[in-house]
């Protein structure tokens, strides 16, 4: 009896502790339950690196971490998966396409001087670029206002495209054609530059400021002392020559600046510069974030994007919760009807089991996702099975004419080996799934595995302790509380 009371005190203490854990640590819900976005980024090998390894992944992750912090997204997490993937979670309603854009670009900034003797070609290209940008901006503004597409001079566009030898896919709209034209022009401009003399590595910080004239934004840069020296040299070289200073980001020409003759003696000194790209406030902010975070050592590609709206997430929670509760209620009714007193004890033990499970989810912490909840529901099935195995054995022993206490003890010890084997095989597959599986499978394996371990504990200790404790009351020590009278050996014959 004393032993039972000790166990009972332990179970009670655990139950209180579990309640306290649940009250102080909230359960973590996955994005499919709370709404939000998940992006999976694949790090691609480039240049001399043929295969992405842990080190390179870490380097990319560092840069992305800085960029995410720069974006100021609340509660986001960035985790590496395997050798070459990163998973970014953005809870709540945030804009995944913007995040993907900011994270996905390499942000390799280069300052390059124009090659001598290319002035004429550059002038033509810049004129074309200015026209294309003006029409595109106008078209976007009108589209945003819900107006009709602006008139694009089709003939001129076709002529320009033809001149540059751009192949236009059939059926593409005029806006698409303009973008293709712009991409080609930018590429040709980049081809007119010397190799880079100064890169984003020479930056100490980046900022942004609104233009004094016009509504656009500029991105400001501050160089290291070495960078400042290089920048002065670079600008000195082209000052007053009419050649341009190109600012190239990820191979795209984003700005072309002329350097006046007054800088001929010493170049632009002071270690600072600004990029006047006529950016929108958001573009300027994103560029600032990318430049501050540094350039990615390797390119990344978004290979998976999952977005689920907040209400849809809440609906998922509600549905799986009602399924879980309804299923549990049915199981409870079934157990009490079929097994009487021990059935009732099992229901109490199962309620404890569910409580312990949730407390562990909060403590570890386990992020609950839909498959995770499914794993939890299934583990309840297995926990019930352990009780069914035991009570069937108790019933058998009673039918054989054994005394009640003996039958209960025998029931537990005889059922033990099959409960153990069943749980161990279950745990083996959970371990394999957790170690080798991905995302969804992992979450499922984790909740099922936790459930299996706890089920071993509750079936073998909670049910047993509670049952033995109740047997201390003589009023409850009646075989008919365990088995219908007709099945007992005495009355059956």
């Amino acid at each position: 009896m004393a032993r039972q009371q000790g166990w009972f005190a332990l179970i009670l203490a655990l139950a209180i502790a579990a309640g306290a854990v649940l009250a102080s640590f909230p359960l973590q819900l996955g994005l499919d339950l709370r709404g939000g976005s998940q992006l999976t980024l694949q790090v691609l090998p480039a240049g001399a690196i043929k295969q992405v390894k842990g080190e390179q992944l870490e380097a990319v992750k560092d840069v992305l971490d800085r960029r995410i912090n720069g974006l100021g997204v609340a509660e986001s997490t960035l985790q590496s998966v395997g050798d070459d993937q990163l998973v970014l979670q953005l809870p709540g309603e945030q804009d995944p396409s913007r995040a993907a854009k900011v994270l996905g670009t390499t942000a390799l900034l280069e300052f390059r001087a124009q090659k001598p003797g290319t002035e004429e070609e550059m002038t033509g290209l810049l004129k074309l670029k200015r026209q294309a940008v003006a029409v595109l901006n106008q078209s976007r503004a009108q589209q945003a206002a819900g107006d009709q597409q602006p008139e694009i001079k089709t003939e001129e566009l076709a002529k320009a495209l033809d001149q540059l030898g751009v192949k236009v896919p059939p059926g593409s709209s005029e806006t698409d054609q303009l973008e293709l034209l712009l991409a080609e022009v930018n590429q040709r401009i980049v081809a007119l530059y010397e190799p880079p003399q100064l890169t984003g590595k020479d930056l100490t910080s980046a900022g942004r400021q609104q233009q004094q004239t016009g509504s656009g934004w500029d991105v400001t840069l501050a160089f290291t002392s070495e960078g400042g020296r290089k920048f002065a040299e670079l600008t000195q070289g082209i000052a007053g020559t009419g050649r341009l200073l190109g600012i190239v980001l990820d191979g795209r020409s984003i700005s072309e600046a002329s350097v006046g003759p007054e800088f001929k003696p010493a170049g632009i000194t002071g270690g600072a510069a600004s990029i006047t790209g006529n950016f929108s406030a958001e573009e300027a902010r994103d560029l600032e974030v990318q430049l501050r975070g540094g350039s990615l050592p390797l390119p990344v590609k978004v290979i998976e994007q999952r977005t689920i709206g907040a209400t849809l997430g809440a609906e998922n929670v509600q549905r799986s919760l009602s399924a879980g509760l309804f299923g549990l209620a049915l199981v409870a009714v079934f157990m009490v009807v079929m097994y009487r007193l021990p059935g009732f004890v099992a229901v109490v033990a199962l309620a404890l089991y569910a409580l312990f499970n949730l407390a562990l989810y909060a403590l570890i912490p386990v992020t609950l996702t839909l498959p995770g909840i499914a794993g939890f529901i299934l583990s309840i099935g297995i926990a019930v099975d352990a009780n069914v195995l035991i009570f069937e054995r108790v019933k058998e022993e009673l039918r054989r004419g054994n005394s009640l206490i003996r039958s209960i003890d025998a029931g537990f010890s005889l059922a033990f080996s099959s409960i153990l084997d069943g749980h161990v095989t279950g745990l083996i597959s959970c371990a394999a799934l957790f170690a080798l599986g991905t995302g969804l499978v992992k979450g499922f394996a984790l909740t099922l595995g936790i459930g299996l371990v706890l089920s071993l504990f509750t079936a073998l200790s909670c049910t047993r302790t509670l049952l033995r404790l109740l047997m201390g009351y003589s009023g409850l020590r009646r075989p008919t509380f365990f088995l219908p009278a007709a099945q007992l050996p005495g009355s059956a014959s």
Binding site: E93, K101, I303, T307, G309, L312, V388, S429
Partner: protein, 330 residues
């Protein structure tokens, strides 16, 4: 606390005559299972030979890659009902997506459109889209479908490489767990038992796949990574259920040495029958609740588990124990 209680002689002789002898109907049982497996293989073969599926099961987005878009409209009643899938399809053909990173935007003519909930929501299956292209697509649809509630939006984009990777990792983890389970059973019981448990497992998994092959053929049901999770669970349940019967057979063999193996098997199955039925019933209860309330992505997951657990219970009663005398004789 004494562990096992030797049964009194009188009770033992009563127990030695089972109420129900599984081995008497073993041929019928094998026939039913054999036919079910055959039908499953036929279903998978038909799927495979269907040029539009070309795989044993109709693969979903998770395995093929692409973008799945679920949109809920902010319309009411009759306004919603006016929308047809054809109209959406036509509108899609007019939308031009922005190119990303110099790559040509994918054609939208291959999109599959489903109008759900009486026009209130839309489900689109599209080629692999970049995030900004998805936004452009939604913007392009707005004139036709009206405003969209972002809190009800669901977008899934899976690159094709990820699908293959998912499939591979699921298959590898499944095979590794089979091997480990077989090793454990061989260690606790015997090689024959391990072989039979794996046979049952193959039987259960095959039939579950077969049901979904036919569902894919007849109803267009696709399998996703949740289905892979369901198969893994079925495998785990199958072994768990079989092991309980094996444990009882081993016990009967010790208790009733004088009986033949067939009789021992009959006794063991008879003794565990109530438990087997109750257990599958209590496991199925939450699943049935999931079927009723789960909805969406959880519905077919619950179907797969329900089928698999039903078949798993049958195989642990009617296949594994009845094949044991046949194999142990050699």
């Amino acid at each position: 606390m004494t562990a096992s209680t030797p049964a009194p002689q009188m009770a033992a002789s009563a127990m030695a005559e089972p109420r129900f002898r599984i081995t008497r109907i073993r041929r019928q049982g094998w026939l039913v299972s054999g036919l079910a497996v055959l039908l499953s293989l036929v279903g998978m073969a038909l799927c495979w030979s269907n040029p539009r599926i070309a795989a044993p099961l109709r693969p979903g987005l998770d395995f093929t890659g692409g973008t799945q878009l679920q949109i809920e409209r902010s319309c009411t009643g009759a306004d919603c009902a006016a929308l047809t899938a054809d109209a959406v399809q036509q509108r899609l053909a007019d939308i031009s997506l922005p190119p990303v990173a110099g790559a040509e935007p994918p054609r939208l003519s291959s999109a599959r459109v489903q109008v759900l909930d009486g026009g209130r929501s839309l489900e689109l299956r599209l080629p692999d889209l970049e995030p900004e292209q998805t936004q452009a697509l939604i913007d392009g649809l707005t004139p036709l479908i009206g405003a969209v509630n972002p809190a009800q939006l669901s977008v899934n984009t899976i690159g094709p490489s990820l699908g293959g990777q998912l499939l591979r990792s699921s298959a590898v983890s499944l095979l590794v767990s089979f091997a480990l389970i077989a090793a454990y059973i061989s260690f606790r019981y015997d090689g024959i038992y391990a072989g039979l448990a794996l046979l049952c497992l193959a039987h259960d998994v095959l039939i579950t796949c077969g049901v979904f092959a036919w569902l894919g053929l007849l109803r267009g049901v696709e399998v996703d990574s949740l289905f892979a999770v369901a198969l893994i669970t079925v495998a785990g349940y199958s072994v768990n259920d079989t092991v309980v019967v094996f444990d009882r057979i081993r016990e009967q063999r010790r208790e009733y040495r004088e009986l033949g193996l067939s009789d021992q098997v009959d006794l063991a199955v008879d003794a565990t029958l109530t438990r087997s039925l109750y257990t599958s019933f209590t496991t199925l209860l939450p699943l049935i609740a999931l079927l009723l309330f789960g909805g969406g992505s959880l519905f077919w997951f619950a179907v797969a588990l329900t089928v698999g657990i039903g078949v798993g219970s049958w195989s642990s009663i009617g296949i594994a124990p009845t094949l044991l005398p046949l194999l142990a004789r050699r």
